[in-house]
């Protein structure tokens, strides 16, 4: 059994590690093209992130949102769906959570207010996720197209509501919420002072554990993975494929929506236009590098958060866009090496017969 386990682990880790190596080599070449020493730049990158409490706090903060969006994308992929809408699901979750936080009485204790706001975030995201799910099941509309288009619609709608109805004058954000705020880590560990890291990271980790149990230990997860791998065989096994797709999109949206709490409840205490800032899209890369496994997603989220925060630390030596190039290289390298993607590409190459 243990050797089998090691085999699985190797198979799971190998592609991302190779991708990382390729990215490092590309990074070296880039850094040298700026006339800098790769060793110095990488040292700075690490010192600016894992090397001090503030930097580490920022990594945790950035990783939190990515864990949620990465889990959201992974869950959908497990059901055979490609959810490109995590960006707007994330925004909608944050928005609805902020609305509920604004509406609650300031005297309401956190133990009541926080769960209500979490629920609101999940519902907000799940509504945005349910639409492409329903359109796919009912009319066969492809979820990739619908989620992409819905991103524009939902983000524009949220911006409109905030700008027209509830923003604080001269700003793009809502007033501060009165209840449901999540404590920052620096209120327990002073060293984190100034970083946005907050207890949402724990909720993210609990969510990752819950997704793992759901996918690998529950009946519904068994059915969901079956639908993702072979819908015809799942159907033969008595599983309603449409029902699973609907469920997967609702759950995927709910998880992305929950990601909104990190910024809205944990950091700023208000909803601000554009707060998602691409974390939904980066969730796709996190899912890919994390091989759609909750543990992998957590690690990949930490990795991408490190790159993103590290970009700031090395800005004095090389443009911070360099880390974006590195991100791109990692994604490409993983995409070419993971079996899931290779299989999808193979299928796309198959000729179509009328």
């Amino acid at each position: 059994m243990s050797s089998r386990f090691r085999e699985h682990l190797e198979e799971a880790l190998f592609p991302p590690l190779v991708a990382l190596l390729v990215a490092l080599i590309c990074g070296d070449l880039l850094i040298m093209s700026y006339g800098q020493s790769p060793a110095t730049v990488y040292r700075l990158l690490l010192e600016g992130t894992w090397g001090n409490a503030y930097g580490f706090g920022q990594v945790l903060y950035k990783a939190t949102t990515l864990i949620f969006t990465g889990l959201s994308v992974s869950l959908a992929i497990r059901a055979g769906l490609f959810n490109v809408g995590a960006e707007s699901q994330l925004a909608a979750g944050g928005f609805v959570a902020a609305l509920v936080g604004l509406g609650l009485s300031p005297s309401m204790p956190g133990i009541l207010a926080i769960p209500l706001c979490l629920l609101a975030a999940a519902i907000g995201g799940s509504i945005v996720g349910a639409i492409p799910g329903w359109l796919k099941v009912k009319y066969g509309a492809h979820e990739v197209i619908v989620t992409i288009m819905l991103n524009f619609v939902v983000l524009a709608l949220l911006n409109y509501i905030v700008a027209a109805k509830i923003h604080v004058p001269e700003t793009l954000h809502t007033p501060e919420i009165r209840a449901g705020g999540i404590a920052r880590l620096d209120s327990f560990i002073p060293a984190f002072h100034g970083s946005a890291a907050n207890l949402s990271i724990l909720i993210a980790l609990v969510t990752a554990a819950a997704v793992w149990v759901y996918l690998f230990k529950s009946k519904r997860g068994f059915e969901m993975r079956a639908v993702g791998l072979q819908p015809e065989a799942a159907e033969y096994g008595g599983v309603s494929v449409g029902g699973i797709w609907m469920r997967a999109m609702i759950l995927s949206g709910a998880i992305a929506g929950l990601g909104g709490i990190n910024y809205v409840l944990g950091y700023k205490q208000y909803y601000e236009e554009g707060f998602a800032g691409g974390a939904g899209f980066l969730g796709i890369a996190v899912a890919l590098v994390g091989r759609n496994h909750p543990l992998g997603v957590v690690l990949a989220a930490l990795f991408f958060a490190t790159l993103s925060q590290g970009g700031l630390a090395i800005h004095a030596f090389v443009p911070k866009q360099m880390v974006e190039v590195l991100q791109g290289v990692v994604i490409l390298a993983v995409a070419m090496s993971v079996p899931e993607v290779r299989r999808a590409l193979r299928q796309a190459r198959k000729p179509v017969a009328a």
Binding site: Y236, G237, A354
Partner: protein, 533 residues
């Protein structure tokens, strides 16, 4: 010089001459010294059971595959192992069973695709339409040149395929089961066209299962069996029965019914000749007037009625593609019914879904284990509970891992699945062992009715014997089994009664004791018709 001239004359007698063709795929010898001789300007029928090697031979002719051994000549020229483009240039046109058309383009665009008429730099669509209409008129293949292929009927799409090959200058036309998808009037139209092409000097090779068609349309016949050419006949004076005998061979059935009793499986009582479903209140499954509409809007299952008693195997014989797949899927709940009723153990399941029918006591060995029967990336252990997830779950929605592993261990041992390791992905097992997973899951649980579709397809001899034994044991335990198999011998060896399915209907239900391969073969190919009801 004179010698070679005579040889040349001898050679030119044939439009196609293939000799001693061998072709092996892995362990399968698709062609073993197969030969084919087709004279110019004749319609030549190539017949044989599934897997007899007809399609492989035609793929070699069309240049899609190179033969391992043997020679081929077209119009006297040695063309052994040529490429598809060489074959097309030499005037060979192949019309595949599955159409290769671009649905969003018009008929004219599809036909000229790759050889478009141009005006300067631009595609001259008007010229394309004119050329297609001219060709259409010359050949009698009526097609709407301006319509999108997606809007065409199957018959029209097929005509477009034929025109496509003719547009490329085909003089030798190969048609792979062209009538499988056509309605009778469309078939008659096709015959008129093919005769016209022949009379204009074309040569046609027709692959088909339907012997009445062979006799009607062809000038000469080549019969293949197990990769070899077993007979060459001139059509005039040949009867479908003669062809059927050549197709199935003369060997006696492998396993006899005596063997079943030797195994201790008591055969259920005498089969009443006047048996009628409504007479029997004890039937385990009762199906009445089942109609299923297929993807092409045809009645693929067209009013099928039957019932099976506990402890009885009803075998369905028939050439594949006559509605067996759709019938089984409709019974399992995987395909919507147009009309009809299904009762399992007296319980009407017509409106129920797959899971509910499983609850009602239905087990199903699907014909395609890679597509439906297994999730190839799931472990053997997980595959052994596919469709039984409710049974192995708790009320809170969790799966009981311990019970799932116990079940796996027990079934791997009982059904001798190798290697005996539940954690391996099903993908990595051999075909026979993969099939054993399906058999173990579907027969290792409590059930009343089993749909067994091609239960031994692609498995080795040892596994076949094992599966047959399990089926007989299940019958002895009082299960009702509906068996569909492309292997006539298997149907005859296992069944108590045999139904022949032809074009969506049961053309005949007879006690297996009264059936022989030859008599069934005639019903299977439609050369003899009799309504079961």
């Amino acid at each position: 010089m004179t010698g070679s001239a005579t040889a040349l004359g001898e050679r030119e007698k044939y439009a196609i001459r293939m000799t001693g063709i061998d072709k092996t795929f892995g362990a399968v010898r698709a062609n073993r010294g197969a030969s084919l001789e087709v004279r110019p300007s004749e319609i030549h029928a190539l017949v044989g059971e599934n897997g007899a090697g007809k399609s492989t031979l035609m793929k070699i002719l069309g240049g899609l595959q190179a033969p391992d051994a043997g020679t081929m000549e077209v119009n006297g020229r040695d063309v052994t192992g040529w490429s598809t483009s060489e074959a097309i240039a030499a005037g060979i046109g192949v019309v595949h069973q599955h159409f290769m058309l671009v649905p969003t383009l018009t008929v004219a665009e599809n036909i000229v695709l790759g050889m478009e008429p141009v005006k300067g730099m631009r595609f001259d669509y008007a010229a394309a339409v004119a050329q297609v209409e001219k060709l259409s008129k010359e050949t009698g293949l009526a097609v709407p040149a301006d319509r999108k292929v997606a809007e065409l009927s199957v018959g029209e799409a097929q005509r477009v395929e034929i025109l496509k090959t003719l547009y490329r200058g085909a003089k030798i036309l190969v048609l792979d089961e062209p009538t499988a998808v056509l309605s009778p009037p469309e078939v008659r139209e096709l015959w008129t066209v093919l005769r016209g092409l022949r009379d204009a000097g074309g040569t046609i090779v027709l692959i088909t299962h339907r012997l009445d068609e062979v006799v009607e349309i062809s000038d000469a016949i080549t019969v293949m069996r197990a990769g070899q050419t077993v007979e060459r006949l001139t059509t005039s004076g040949t009867t479908p029965a003669q062809i059927a005998r050549a197709m199935v061979g003369r060997e006696v059935a492998l396993t006899s019914r005596d063997e079943a009793s030797a195994l201790g499986a008591p055969l259920t009582g005498e089969i009443e000749p006047g048996f009628h479903p409504s007479d029997d209140m004890t039937s385990a499954i009762r199906v009445a007037d089942l109609v299923v509409i297929g993807s092409r809007n045809t009645r693929v299952v067209d009013g099928v009625t039957f019932s099976i008693r506990p402890g009885e195997i009803l075998g369905i014989a028939g050439v594949e593609g006559n509605g067996q797949t759709e019938l089984i899927e409709a019974l399992a709940g995987l395909r919507p019914l147009e009309s009809g009723t299904i009762r399992i153990n007296g319980h009407d399941v017509t409106q129920e879904n797959v899971a509910e029918r499983r609850q009602a006591g239905l087990s199903h060995i699907p014909e395609d284990r890679h597509h439906r029967g297994l999730i190839l990336d799931y472990s053997v252990t997980d595959n052994l509970v596919l469709g039984r997830q409710e049974e192995f779950g708790s009320r809170r929605g969790m799966l009981n891992g311990d019970r799932i592993r116990e079940n796996s261990k027990a079934q791997i041992a009982e059904f001798d699945i190798r290697p005996p390791d539940g954690e391996i992905a099903a993908r990595n097992l051999s075909g026979g062992n993969q099939q054993k997973i399906v058999i173990a899951r579907e027969m290792g649980q409590s059930f009343g009715v089993l749909l067994a579709s091609q239960p031994t397809r692609g498995v080795d001899v040892g596994a076949i014997e094992f599966i047959h034994t399990r089926l007989r044991e299940a019958r002895a335990e009082g299960k009702a089994i509906l068996l569909v198999s492309a292997e006539l011998k298997e149907v005859l060896a296992l069944s108590d009664r045999v139904a022949v399915m032809y074009r969506g209907k049961f053309s005949k239900i007879i006690p297996a004791a009264e059936a022989s391969e030859e008599s069934l073969g005639e019903y299977m190919t439609g050369s003899k018709k009799e309504d079961a009801a």
